[in-house]
Amino acid sequence: MIQKKNNIGIIAFVLLAFLVTAPLYARNWKSPDDQKDKKSYLKFDATTASQGEALYNANCASCHGTPGKNNSLKSLNPIPPDLSTKASQQLTDGELLYIVTNGAGLMPSFKNILSEEKEWLIISYLRGFNKEYVQQLSKFDPAKSKLVKLTTTFDKASQSIIIQAIANEKTGVVAIAGAEVSLFVKRYFGNFQVDKSVKTDAMGKATIAFPTDIPGDKTGKLNVLVKMFEANYGEVQKTDSFDIGIPTDKPALNEKRAIWNVVSKAPLWVIGLYSMGLISFLMLLAYLLLNLRKIFKS
């Protein structure tokens, strides 16, 4: 009876374990159909490939290894594929972009780390390992994104940031409706996304509530980054700064004198003791040399 109970327990445990870990095993890098056909607006050439190589080495190589060398990180499960292989290369540009942007399985999302342009540069580098690859350029015109003007204002009453996206078309100013807008606060490493991405309304406006407890610099200044994406106009970014954080005046740890700091910031007691020792030795030396001189003169 007890045996049976145990068996049920084991089966239940295995099932549960499978359910919990299933997302890890699932090859869920299937991208949505509209993303699959997405094409780069950058023309892949030697320049973009070499720019992409630097980005690849900084962001991807630690797990995927050098393409063609089959030296990806084998201790991960599943093992990250060598991206020069046929299996990886048969993915479309859009699928690759989707995976880089959103991550897959253990692979993290690079949405907040790399801009779309940089992601395309990396794909450009990877396509260099595929001789059969022929690029199909997107019909999207990147020059259009230059027409976009983003404005950010802070509304104190609602404690939120209002973003407005307009485009200075030849025909006149057009509000960009239905664009995806995200708001980030810059920190030491990477960006911190505030709330979720929202869509602009018919006026091209979007409102994102801003928290009250984000630490800023001495005056409470925060650097914010707004990203807008719209199928027609592409990705546009804008940085701005507002005095809306909590004023924080924390001196850097290496600003004070400390044993472990650089020599110009040595603790005064160390400098004092060391100099005292040295000076008393020099005084003794002077005294002795004087005595030797006296002996010689007398």
């Binding site: 400098i271 060391y274 020792g277 005595n291 006296k294 002996i295 007398s298």
Partner: protein, 437 residues
């Protein structure tokens, strides 16, 4: 009349060894050839890099640093015998002061070289001075060792001035240039009361000042270890532990030097059994103090057996370093203490054997302090070849380790051939004092 005769005899006796004898030449020849062999080993290390040694990422301080600690330790004896005992008015130690000071100077001067020999890129030594941080014990160490070498030189030189005058006057068959050097170095010494007073004052100032400096050099050397949190080094008593250990090895070195000088320079009347008896007692005293510190150093962590310390202690007491550990503790410390308690063992020959045991034990004790700790880092050593984990010195490394020892012997030998190793003026003064009484 008899006074005059005896003082002439004293001068003749004590100047007797300052001449180039055949045995000296042979001894120097042996030393020079051995040094050349060892320096060739160093050349190989310079040419091929530290890969020729057994040092690696884990044990980066092996024999060389053990050697350095041993050298700094032994050099402390100049302070104990020439300064402390003379300030305490221990008259028996007066004839030994110069021997102790020669040993101190030789070991301290070479200690700096030992560190350079441990460097893979010795031409970068200057960076210590250019980029050194005043907060770092390494900078303190460089500073105090340099100061100690300078002070030891002066401590040797200043009381020597009257003797240098005697050398320039009484040594016959001296080449003219050598006589000139003696005269120049004796600084117009005429033996006036004023000059005597100046020498006395300067020597006293040096004797007082050398005590904190000597304590500093070995305490700072101990801080190179104790200021880290490694098991076996993370100890608050490392300073005094090192200093007392230093007195043990230094006293042993002086005993060996006393025996050799007495034998080869025929100084039986000046270094007598009485001196051996006295310094034997001194060795017991310093060894007992050191034993006490050893007890603290091992007993306290062994009682608590904190994780990392426990591993270290097990390796020392019953593990791979147990033989060396117990050999140094028993043969280098406990047995010498017991034997030296009995008067017959404080006779010249037995005490020489014991001093050799103590000195060799002292060297291996430094090895026991340096190497086992390095073999047990806090982070586990994984996926490395066996020779990374277990330190084995190579032949080249042993050669490079022996080189400084030969240099010390060379310095001591040369100094003993150019200056009287027993202070003549002091012996004369002492003789005339006893005469008057």
């Amino acid at each position: 009349m008899s006074d005059k005769k005896s003082s002439e005899k004293i001068i003749a006796d004590l100047l007797g060894h300052i001449r180039l004898s055949k045995s000296f030449m042979a001894w120097m020849g042996i030393l020079s050839v051995s040094l050349v062999v060892c320096l060739y080993a160093y050349f190989l290390q310079l040419r091929d890099g530290m890969v020729v040694t057994g040092l690696g990422d884990y044990v980066s301080w092996g024999m060389y640093i053990s050697n350095f600690v041993f050298f700094v330790a032994t050099s402390l004896i100049g302070m104990l015998i020439s300064a402390v005992l003379s300030l305490l008015n221990q008259k028996w130690a007066a004839p030994l002061a110069r021997i102790a000071e020669i040993i101190a100077l030789a070991f301290a001067a070479v200690a700096g070289l030992v560190i350079v020999m441990d460097m893979g890129r010795p031409e970068r030594l200057l960076n210590v001075f250019i980029h050194g941080r005043i907060q770092s014990p390494i900078v303190w160490d460089v500073t105090v060792v340099t100061i100690y070498v300078l002070i030891s030189t002066l401590f040797l030189y200043i009381p020597l001035i009257p003797d240098l005058k005697i050398c320039s006057e009484k040594l016959d068959k001296l080449p003219p240039f050598a006589r000139k050097i003696y005269t120049l170095l004796s600084l117009n010494w005429k033996g006036t009361p004023e000059q005597h007073e100046l020498i006395k004052k300067s020597t006293r100032a040096l004797a007082i000042f050398i005590i904190p400096v000597a304590l500093a050099i070995h305490t700072v050397t101990s801080w190179l270890f104790a200021n880290t949190s490694r098991a076996g080094w993370d100890s608050t008593i490392f300073g005094p532990y090192f200093v007392t250990g230093a007195f043990v090895s230094g006293t042993a070195a002086v005993i060996i030097a006393m025996f050799v000088f007495r034998k080869s320079f025929k100084l039986n009347e000046y270094i007598t059994d009485y001196h051996f008896d006295k310094i034997g007692k001194l060795l017991v005293l310093v060894s007992l103090v050191y034993l006490y510190f050893n007890l603290n150093e091992y007993m306290v962590p062994a009682y608590k057996m904190k994780r990392a310390e426990a591993f270290h202690i097990h390796e020392l007491f019953a593990g791979s370093h147990a033989f060396m550990f117990w050999a140094t503790q028993l043969l280098g410390l406990v047995i010498p203490i017991i034997l030296l308690l009995f008067k017959p063992f404080r006779k010249p020959l037995p005490i020489l054997v014991i001093a050799l045991m103590v000195l060799i034990g002292s060297w291996f004790k430094r090895y026991i302090i340096v190497v086992p700790t390095m073999e047990h880092p806090f982070l586990p050593i994984q996926n490395v070849p066996l020779n990374f984990k277990i330190y084995t010195p190579t032949l080249i490394e042993i050669g490079v380790t022996i080189a400084p020892m030969i240099m010390v012997l060379l310095i001591v030998t040369v100094l003993s051939k150019v200056i009287p190793i027993i202070p003549i003026q002091e012996t004369l003064d002492h003789a005339s004092e006893t005469e008057q009484k």
